[in-house]
């Protein structure tokens, strides 16, 4: 029973920690202690935290390396933007439209996750990683060809493969407007993402993932990670549970993408390239595979770090790289680990 209580305790500490951070930042925001550029970071940080915990489900809990997570983020971002923009006149409340956008983003990314998962999850290890990378790039290229507009008749969608079409080819009725314009991406988006929406998204993602880990399905997923052959031998359907983890992970990334996309008035698909996937992977690896709390901290710190290093001007990215290397070395040395274990409250290591 001891560990059960400790596990529940560490889950609750994660919820409480995130809530406390939210309350403190909200007060700072109200009190005017944050400048414009700091305020601008809040929503992206929430989106990247959610990305990190969702990728942790694939990489840390399921144990499959995915290098195309930004692809799901972009699907969520663009479908979220389309949903939010086409409902502007129908639903006047920003919060409701934000929620709908995140749900639409999650569902779309989940559907894509399922279809991409069919071929991808047949592979293992390095091969799976390479194919997810390829799918990430394919999604990016397809979204670059996408032209979407909305008018009184509903949505108009064009796929602009040869690059000859423009938004005017949508033949929108009067009063209609283009939402996504090919390579330019989404333009004229009404930014409705808020820090509160980001906090709620993080909490929902945390509840989904932490509760999943402590359930029958989550144990099956971790069993596959630890020993696939043994998992099969005790009657676990490998494909089903791999797919479950992959689709859940993609769906949460989609919701994070919707949050991210609706924070900017214009957004190009090129933003969600391989670098973004790697950035999120760095958060996950640095925070500790399978360690959800670690992902949150790593995403926050590493997202703020380049901004905080602005005073180094040209040496900013050099400093960023050095910090990464130092953190990696420090967290891998046994002495530093012993020290951390002493500092950690008892039972924290069980979070793995």
């Amino acid at each position: 029973m001891k560990m059960k209580k400790k596990i529940a305790w560490s889950d609750y500490m994660t919820y409480i920690g995130v809530t406390i951070a939210f309350v403190i930042v909200s007060f700072l925001k109200k009190g005017g202690a944050l400048n414009r550029s700091q305020l601008g970071l809040l929503v992206p940080i929430c989106a990247y935290i959610t990305m990190a915990i969702s990728l942790n489900l694939t990489v840390g809990i399921l144990g499959e390396l995915s290098l195309g997570h930004a692809g799901f983020m972009s699907i969520g971002a663009f479908s979220g933007i389309i949903a939010a923009m086409s409902l502007v006149n129908v639903i006047p409340y920003d919060g409701v439209r934000m929620a709908i956008a995140m749900v639409v983003g999650a569902v779309m990314a989940g559907i894509f996750g399922f279809f991409i998962g069919i071929p991808v999850l047949r592979l293992r290890g390095d091969y799976l990683a390479i194919v997810t990378l390829a799918f990430g790039e394919i999604i990016k290229e397809i979204l670059t060809c996408l032209i979407v507009g909305v008018d009184a008749e509903g949505l108009h969608i064009l796929i602009n493969i040869d690059g000859s079409k423009t938004a005017s080819d949508l033949n929108l009725l009067e009063g209609g407007k283009a939402i996504i314009k090919g390579a330019q991406g989404a333009v004229g988006t009404k930014t409705i993402a808020s820090f509160t929406a980001g906090y709620i998204l993080i909490m929902i993602s945390l509840i989904i993932i932490l509760n999943l880990i402590r359930s029958r399905s989550g144990r099956a997923i971790m069993a596959i990670r630890d020993n696939r052959i043994a998992a099969e031998s005790v009657g676990i359907e490998i494909t089903k549970y791999k797919m479950m983890a992959f689709v859940t992970s993609a769906a949460i990334a989609g919701a994070a993408g919707a949050l991210y996309g609706l924070n900017y008035s214009s957004l190009a698909a090129a933003k969600f390239d391989f670098n973004t996937s790697i950035l999120v992977l760095v958060f996950v690896v640095l925070g500790g595979l399978g360690n959800i709390w670690g992902s949150i901290v790593a995403a926050t710190v590493l997202y703020i770090l380049p901004e905080a290093l602005r005073s180094f001007a040209d040496y900013r990215m050099l400093m960023y790289a050095i910090v990464l290397i130092v953190v990696m070395l420090a967290t891998n040395s046994s002495k530093a680990k012993d020290l951390l274990d002493k500092l950690k409250p008892a039972g924290k290591e069980e979070e793995q």
Partner: protein, 282 residues
């Protein structure tokens, strides 16, 4: 403390209560007919015929490389047989996958231990209970009443199963950090958790000292008596095999060279030759 066994349910009862009589007739629970597999040109197992009674403890022995583990891998469909059929309780298992075979009632342990190392001992057993619990992913995430009810039952059952090897105090330990012997025992508990009708043990006593082996021997018989299942074991420790197995099958170079009771096997010249070599011509 001892246990009574109803299918899918293990309840602790005070010691001294009646353990059901073993059914001594040999209605086969597991039967193989002309089972064989080739790896390229190598006949790893050929013409393997075996009948296992419902509550029999059977031994599969033979020199290294004889194909014993391959037989287990065939029975659990890790390898698809090239030839022959496997009947489990009269049902053909052709075309089934490993996990379907497990749900049909064959559970196994591995020669090189395969535990879920990063998970706790209790979670390892709970994963064995996977198919006996039925709440959905959504019920787990939303923590619906079915989650709490079934998780509580899983917890209790896991501890009851662990108590077979008196391991209930280790429930919270990470499986990977258990001592070797305990890891072997945990594998058996995990296999039992899937509620099998046939339990395959691949070298359960490997790496154990004589007193641990003696203890294991007793436990294997106890498991058979409580759960009323058939147990097939591969083992190199002859004291264990000769003491608890009712039937023994000897493999050499993928072929059965002898079958029979422990006494018959010990006196069989072909077996002696396989193990010790041919007597010098006089």
């Amino acid at each position: 403390m001892s246990f009574t066994f109803e299918r899918g349910k293990l309840a602790a009862v005070p010691s001294g209560s009646v353990i059901p009589e073993r059914d001594l007739d040999k209605t086969p629970i597991l039967e193989t007919r002309h089972l064989g597999i080739d790896f390229g040109g190598l006949h790893a197992v050929q013409d393997f015929n075996l009948t296992i009674g419902r509550t029999e403890i059977a031994g599969l022995i033979g020199p290294n490389g004889a194909g014993k583990t391959t037989v287990f891998n065939l029975l659990t469909k890790v390898y698809q047989p090239t030839r022959g059929t496997i009947l489990l309780d009269g049902m053909d298992t052709a075309g089934k996958t490993t996990e379907q075979i497990n749900r049909m009632g064959i559970a196994r342990t591995f020669q090189n231990i395969r535990l879920f190392n990063n998970l706790s001992v209790e979670d390892n057993v709970k994963i064995g209970l996977h198919n006996q619990k039925s709440y959905s992913m959504l019920a787990g995430i939303l923590r619906l009443p079915s989650y709490w009810k079934q998780e509580k039952a899983a917890h209790e059952r896991a501890l009851a199963l662990l108590s077979i090897f008196e391991m209930q105090d280790m429930a919270d330990v990470r499986a990977g950090s258990l001592p070797y012997g305990a890891q072997r025992r945990l594998e058996i508990v995990r296999a039992l958790a899937t509620s099998p009708s046939v339990l395959l043990l691949d070298e359960p006593a490997a790496g154990m000292n004589p007193s641990e082996t003696a203890e294991l021997m007793e436990t294997i018989v106890t498991i058979r008596d409580i759960f009323q299942i058939a147990i097939v074991l591969i083992e190199h420790d002859m004291s264990l095999v000769m003491n608890i197995c009712e039937g023994i099958c000897v493999l050499n170079f993928g072929q059965v060279i002898a079958k029979g009771s422990p006494e018959e096997i010990q006196a069989n010249p072909a077996v002696i030759e396989a193990y010790l070599g041919r007597k010098k011509e006089e």
